[in-house]
Amino acid sequence: MTTPTAAPDTTWWRRNRLWLLLLLPLLLLALAASSFRLVTLYRPWSWSGRVVAHGPTGTLSEDFMASDGQTYHRDVTVTVDSVQPVRSLGEDAATPGAQLWRVDLTLAAPVDQIVEGCEILLVDAAGRSYRAGRAGKVAADPTNRFWSINDEIACVPEDAPGPTGGLFQIEPSPLERPPSWPVTVGVVTPDGVEPVGVIVRWQMPAYLELATPA
């Protein structure tokens, strides 16, 4: 009967130390290799790119694919000028039990960049978001039989939108867009909701989150 030597340099741990050391990087490699769905599907097709401005002004720089299939770049600087509760905005008001907020922004971008087609949202402290559009809105004048509302909002000047994405090509702007321009939208939240931030976003995954001005 042989007695196993107790010398420390022949223990199992020591004999296999190379493989034990390699175990950690190999596990990391296996994890990376299985992240295909996260990297190619989940992250690009969700709002995963949060850009926090830490104040009422911030810039979103992103590459995006326009309607012609080409990749373009834009750098849009957004300033939240004010977020205030109002009774009505234009022909719109909030449905009973809800509050209409007037959101005034200033957008600035190089004149040759595509900036159309954004969404603007208010965020509350719980992280719920309320999108500018027709949600929660009714006619300010109940006798107005012709009230109707589009869910789209305009985030570029109507007469000078800058380049816009056509079906197969980018259409030039009829008039040159000014370097900065105001955008005003109405957002409805239930009564009692206090907005703490504003989100401006174009295409997934990046979005800009700004603080409401004090």
């Binding site: 999108r131 559009g133 949600a135 929660g136 409805v188 939240t189 909701v193």
Partner: protein, 194 residues
């Protein structure tokens, strides 16, 4: 000539393969289990909390015609109109009524694009709305029918699906199937008074 033992081995191997493949065929395929929707059974009047919203089926109507935006659709079968309330919990959203399905007890499903335009939302979180979802179906699909409301884009995705027992017994099915009137679906979003 194979020996008795070799024959017995052969029979045992074939029998084992048979038993194994029968068990394998009877067990659900791991992919379909993994990708199955998360079903939330409920009855009429019970709120169901899905991944990003709360839905409650509040009632049923039926008729031969449905009306919205001055458009009328007429059927030889029956329009089952489901009344429901919807409230997103995270962000302003639409409940796309075209993804809802009514499922008969034999598995037939009805739904998709209605013959007139329908809609449910958008509405912000915390502001419930009342909607009407029409389904054109034959009266024999009514008894025991269930309504499937997915949180995602389809009732077969790996996502929350509310499975509502519409509570239609034979007598109720006869009454719903015999309705000949017109159901009006409101043009504007109906916010539920809070």
């Amino acid at each position: 000539m194979p020996s008795r033992a070799a024959l017995a081995t052969g029979v045992i191997v074939v029998a084992a393969l048979f038993v194994g493949s029968t068990i394998n065929a009877a067990l659900p395929d791991p992919n379909s289990v993994f990708a199955a929707p998360f079903e939330h059974p409920a009855a009429i009047g019970e709120p169901v909390t899905l991944r990003d919203g709360i839905v409650t089926v509040t009632g049923l109507e039926s008729g031969r015609e449905i009306l919205r935006f001055n458009e009328v659709a007429v059927t030889e079968a029956v329009f089952l109109v489901v009344q429901l309330t919807y409230e997103p919990t995270e962000e302003t959203q639409v409940l796309p009524l075209t993804v809802l399905r009514v499922e008969a007890t034999d598995g037939r499903q009805y739904g998709g694009q209605a013959p007139i335009s329908t809609g449910c939302g958008p509405t912000p979180p915390g502001l419930p709305i009342a909607c009407r979802a029409p389904f054109e179906l034959p009266p024999d699909a009514l008894p025991g029918a269930r309504l499937l409301i997915p949180a995602g884009a389809s009732t077969t995705q790996m996502d929350d699906v509310a499975v509502i027992d519409l509570g239609i017994d034979e007598a109720r099915a006869d009454a719903l199937g015999a309705a000949t009137g017109r159901v009006t679906i409101p043009d504007d979003t109906v916010y539920v008074g809070r």
